[in-house]
Amino acid sequence: MEDCLAKKMEITVSEAEKRTGRNAMNMQETYTAYLIETRAVQSQSEGQCAPVDSLWRRYSEFELLRNYLSVTYPHIVVPPLPEKRADFVWHKLSADNMDPDFVERRRIGLENFLLRVASHPVLCQDKIFYSFLTQEGGWKEMVNETGFQLKADSRLKALNATFRVKNPDKRFTELKHYSDELQSVISHLLRVRARVADRLYGVYKVHGNYGRVFSEWSAIEKEMGDGLQSAGHHMDVYAASIDDILEEEEHYADQLKEYLFYAEALRAVCRKHELMQYDLEMAAQDLTSKKQQCEELATGTVRTFSLKGMTSKLFGQETPEQREAKIKVLEEQIQEGEEQLKSKNLEGRDFVKNAWADIERFKEQKNHDLKEALISYAVMQISMCKKGIQVWTNAKECFSKM
């Protein structure tokens, strides 16, 4: 962690700005641009502040960066981006991407993403990432030049397609199952939480009606008037308090969302292992069949049915020269295949080792972060309860003066 970028450089996403431009089809579009500011971290001895560098990026560029990182480091659980579209909204929240509250929460999410990458021991060293933070022009071209799109395994996109892997690493199988369950449970939690927020909002707001009616009632009372009027004011305060309470709770929801999307990243790593293992097994299978073919040709026995074998039987055998040529080709292929298998095996073992190391790191991070999130949620609830007690105590005092 000593070497990670986050220690050397201050990174913030400080502003968001609405822009209009023309898209790829030359149609006018509106989008939001985010200002990334970076500054070298000063050591204690230096007195002056380093200058701040800044550049603007839009969400699609963040997406490009993340795709690049996912493909280039398949064994790493790559930090997720904040949600593309507002999801899990309740009636007070806007589902509009241009809504200022959504933009603000996204700004925070994007900053969080950059900080996560910058504090990752492997990812922080990536040059493309560094350029993303520091190089305004030509970055897109630079990324595309890496040719990472070619490396991307299109099979990864087919999330639910099953590949019959005979010997997967059991840990990855379990982990994939866990990531599926985690996604499901956090989604459920976020959905219900949104409904809870909606209902709570309703409860608080209806109390505002007391404010008005107490005020009207106090007008016809002599002794009770003052007490009622001031109690009514407290009811208004109570009704208004829910807005801030629920806004704070959205931060908690965002923390949960991050791990909802992290579960996706975790799954991707498991999937990658699955695919590598599948390719390995296919390659081994192919090698075995080639060896068998070779043996059959050499010994003349046919153990496996093949169309070629049948046709040659029906239409006459090949000449010994032809057979020799075939054997030679096969032997070459077998040698190639054995080398490939060896390197694939090595690759596979390396992948498992490195991936598992990052997964352990991720697990610790997840446990720490979620615990912190739960604590802050409990603190929010405590604060809400205390506010409630305060308001009703004030109201009670007003009633006592009636």
């Binding site: 866990y178 446990n367 009703w392 006592s400």
Partner: protein, 385 residues
Amino acid sequence: QDLSLPNGTPVDTSSPASSSSLLNRLQLDDDLDGETRDLFVTVDDPKKHVCTMETYITYRVTTKTTRAEFDLPEYSVRRRYQDFDWLRNKLEESQPTHLIPPLPEKFVVKGVVDRFSEEFVETRRKALDKFLKRITDHPVLSFNEHFNVFLTAKDLNAYKKQGMALLSKVGESVKYVTGGYKLRSRPLEFAAIGEYLDTFSLKLGTIDRIAQRIIKEQLEYLVELREYGPVYSTWGGLEVELSEPLEGVSACIGNCCTALEELSEDMTEDFLPVLREYILYSESMKNVLKKRDQVQAEYEAKLEAVALKKEDRPKVPTDVEKCQDRVECFNADLKADMERWQNNKRQDFRQLLMGMADKNIQYYEKCLTAWESIIPLLQDKPETK
């Protein structure tokens, strides 16, 4: 003075009910504390009776008194709602110039409300207890003969039948007959009371609706919370290190659900009924005001009739004099009752609203305790392996 009500029933003048001593008694009643009070009535112990024809609830009515009007110092009788209803009607008949406290609603929609559920019976018991206590506190009504019989008679039905027979002999209608006179204008002070009551019952109606709406919203919130809590538990089942914290949060939310349920129940059982009682009270008072208008209208009409006759001796005939007395008596009784009502209302609402605030404070305190107790659990470092 020969005071008699239009339907011929003589007003008992031997009781301290005449307007002059009324204010004196009011003064005494306002200082009423345990020592000067001489009549205590309580309603409790509801019991279900299953008979061939019907099933019903009776309540025990206990009386403790030192008053001379009662033969014994203590009584304990059982009464059902019908009996309270009968009492109220009797009081309205015999004390038309006074405000009679309201009874809880007579009819309940079968199938919607369970007449025999604990909550309903308890709510009703409290209202009936309040009803009798209000009569007990009233300087005139508490001395009413029917009230006495209600508190003491072993067989109330026999008395009821007796009363009916008597009246049918006399041939008079039981109800207070309105003369059908139209009042030109209500005196300012009574008009003010009327306006006040109109606005007051309107505002109470609004508060009732708001309170009901809040309870509804709270119950909908509760439904969601009940789904929310267990999801944390499910998640805990997937985790190792986070298992306990997540379970803790789940349990915490469960506790908040319980607290919320209690709050809604309390509001339904304690707050709403009292509110509704006062709406009924206002309606009663408005009716008394109308009766007063009738009495005044009769007087004015008779006075006018006399003026038109142009007699030589401007002697006011006795029945016009009687009307005048009736008006004055009614006005005095009504004003006294209104003042007493206003005072009780202030105390009742003070208590009611403070109670509402209290219930909410208790709800938040329960939730606060739950969340505070979970913080150490969440911060707990796992045992190093």
